[in-house]
Symmetry: C2
Subunit: 229 residues, 2 copies
Amino acid sequence: MNTVTRPGLRERKKQRTRDALLQAALELFTTQGYEHTTVDEITEAVDVSQRTFFRYFAGKEDAAFAVQDIAHTRFAAAVRERPVDETPLEALRNAVLKDWDTIAEAVEQVVPIELYLRMCRLTESTPALLAAHLRRSDEVGEEVARVIAEREGLDVDTDPRPRVAVAVFAGVIRVMERRWGLSEDLGATETRALTVRYLDAVGPVLTEKWHADRGAADTPVNARGPQNT
Amino acid sequence: MNTVTRPGLRERKKQRTRDALLQAALELFTTQGYEHTTVDEITEAVDVSQRTFFRYFAGKEDAAFAVQDIAHTRFAAAVRERPVDETPLEALRNAVLKDWDTIAEAVEQVVPIELYLRMCRLTESTPALLAAHLRRSDEVGEEVARVIAEREGLDVDTDPRPRVAVAVFAGVIRVMERRWGLSEDLGATETRALTVRYLDAVGPVLTEKWHADRGAADTPVNARGPQNT
DNA sequence: TGTCAAATGTCAGTGGCTGTCATTAATCTC
DNA sequence: GAGATTAATGACAGCCACTGACATTTGACA
């Protein structure tokens, strides 16, 4: 009885159970800790059988990263869409920055962003989750490296440059992640600014002398005072 | 009755059990696969109770990385021993290269290197192991970043440069790992040469144009023919 | 040789995860 | 709209990693 063919009742129910499971899982993970949350607790909160949980998620871990996967997928897509006249690192950099603006609403359609952010912080402090996260990031890196290689018309298996470029970029992002995960007060704008700054710092880090000068240090950015989230 | 006080019978027995467990574990992992090997199989092979295994290793994973841990520890130590007049990246680079020469014998004292190498390859193709490996590498990176920061007299928590430098370095090493893990025939000498080449390629990758030129490609190295392992 | 402590074995239990099969509920067909 | 079809779910049984508690063995040492 609606203009566009809305998915049937069955499909809608499925979506609701999945959403409910995901939300309950993240809520429990972030309040009690990942390890201390059993799958039974999650399913009891949603009132489904344990078996049902494993029909929607490959495991606890899979639920924990369901939202992060959205971000990863979007990033890979964003890289693909960059104009070919950009250098690889420009493309990567612009891809994150551009995506950063729209990622929030995409996430919000599944779970509250605030919950997602709490989950990110938890990942940093839970060994099992951190391990899983790094592996997933590594996978994204591999995917992106292939995209870069194609852009540049190179064979990713013989020319190391695409993978090296992505590895360098991923390294910087990882430094950001850690930095962000540890500081309570780091809004989107500041994070964005720091990312740019860190990326720009890579060149000098490799070539110039460090020692006394504080060319890429944090303080100038933070000293500008709080910005909105 | 010996000149140097050799550890008592008790200590020697412990060492033997641990060695036996480790060897059996790696042997089974590399032949049947990590996931398809149960702890019971390992303990049966050594003829101890399952409980004993968990007294020596925190879990299956811990056994899988017992040897790799040696390499990690040695690398961190090697970085610490680099003269302070080297730039951070020089120090990191020289640390790997120097350590590479002596790591073989250190490993051999615990298990056959050939077994260790097989285990490395398995890590690359087993998601659970790859995740664990990346997390452990990340930990080493953090440790090394602190060492670098101290060398340069910087605060690792406010100045991003130590972590960025280590991240870049770690990224290149990771590219090497994957490259090595996938090719059957890549001896120590070739790996060493490739590492140097990749590290040298980081600068150009960031600044220069890529496209047609194959400045850092593999083929020249491989074309030099096989070298010893 | 007897005492102490460390190493090991035994056993019971928890939690993640899977296969199987019966049951329920949405969709399709006539 | 009643019945056939098919997908989602529930209910179990079972495997495996891992842990705690307690009993047993076995070097160490006086």
